[in-house]
Amino acid sequence: MRDLSYAAVMARKNAIMKASMGMDYDTFALSPVAFDYERMMRETGYSLEDVARIQADTKVGNTPLFELTRLTEAVRRTAAPGKGATILVKDEAANASGSFKARRASISAYEARKKGYKGLAAATSGNYGAAVASQAAMRGLKCIILQEVFDSKGIGQPEIVEKSRACEAYGAEVQRLSVGPELFYQLLMTLEETGFFNASLYTPFGIKGVETLGVEIAQQVRARYRKDPDAVVITHAGGGNLTGTARGLLAADCKARIVACSVDLGGLHMASDSDFNRKSFTTGHTGFGVPFATWPDRVDVPRNAARSLRYMDEYQLVTQGEVFYVTELLTKLEGLERGPAGNTSLTAAVTLARQMDRDQIVVVQETEYTGAGKHHNRQLSFARENGIEVRVGDPAGNVPGKTIVLPEHLDQVRGRVQDMDKLRRSYLKNAAKAHPVAAWTEADLAFLASDLKVDAAWVQQASAEL
């Protein structure tokens, strides 16, 4: 009889992971912190062309790139003379299941089928669940999605309730769970019981799948504007969207500035039952974005293929109220009703476009579908039902979990910048916990420098100051 206690299941983690992915992470390890990242990505065995072909078979990729002409004009009216870059958006809602996450799920589903697994399992409360379920359906695989849905009063976050519905619509078994990080425990139990493939968000397969998004952006912008985009803004949570897109841009030899953006939810605890329904965003927020940037290996696989600081040039923060305002503007000015994920980076793009020159181009690299539960009207009314004050005014008045302030005018959409060096130092502190600084070798320093997009001298100096 298997021991199903929390401690016993967690202790079997590595064996369960190995069996559920047919992949041994130990072969890439160089030390407790360093590993051969590029070899791990290469040894998936999928080239960019393979990925594009596999994705085309399951209704993924080649999504439209739209110029947001009226929004760009509106931003220019709030900008200094000569300023106001053109804003483009990649309409990823056009993928099967309605988000870029279909790219991320597609290679896992293909790999699982190829290796003879009977099904896929994934722990995710976001669009990724629907993406895995949709890809599994097309590949004739069974699918189990585990979601953190409801608090101790039994109240589900409306956006996640919608994800439960979508997953069931695609034929998946949905395990709806209460608030807590034990989602991972239940995933391990499920993988062990079923022998299914672990379609984790953080495998090399997941990240390879997103690379086509970066390549398409480079190709589409070049074809239409005869130049490269100057900046690409990416909503950031776990880091896979940013990592995959940036890798794709680099593969296409595009040197656009990589800008991360998250909704600022500072002050709310992600594992708190009472804070759970006081958030109006279920992802794309700092509650994931900061911890995952500063320690990527906190995930459900031994080495995370999503390593955002390796590619990030800048990190913008926006308030919940600013995103809701820009979501409404996208609808009214551009005739596009889209969900929160892409509209988070769109909000940062407004700020960036205002600072950039008129002849420059900023790309918002995703949209997602919206509808019942996900819609910004539902999130705002849900916030009111949960005692959050919703009002119009200066977005500086936003307090996560207490007050949402919708700007009065586009001019007030300003966001703010996160200190990159502070994030990098925080990453080094976490690395030092995994492997003491005194034991760091040249190989460790080289890995850390690459992982932080700095040189070894910076790592050495910063680690001396820890």
Binding site: G156, E162, E182, Q186, H269, A372, Q379, V390, V392
Partner: protein, 90 residues
Amino acid sequence: MIKAGTWVEIERVLLRPDQRAAGLPTDTAATPYLLRLSGFLKADAELGSEVVVTSLIGHEHCGVLRLENPSYAHSFGNTVPELLQIGREV
């Protein structure tokens, strides 16, 4: 009595408060870790009884019978008038 074959929702305690992960915020640590799942009822049963259901992929799960014909009632919510004003000012 709910008939076998009916689409239902069950609930099961996966971890009691004393079995949960260490380091949780106190509010979360005080509550059990719960699973809710929908499936087809295996045998006739009353609400509140221990039952077995078969999920959409044919896997069996046990738990306490919670709802008959569970449905999704999420919506667009009550109108937030502040949103209706947005767009005229730009």
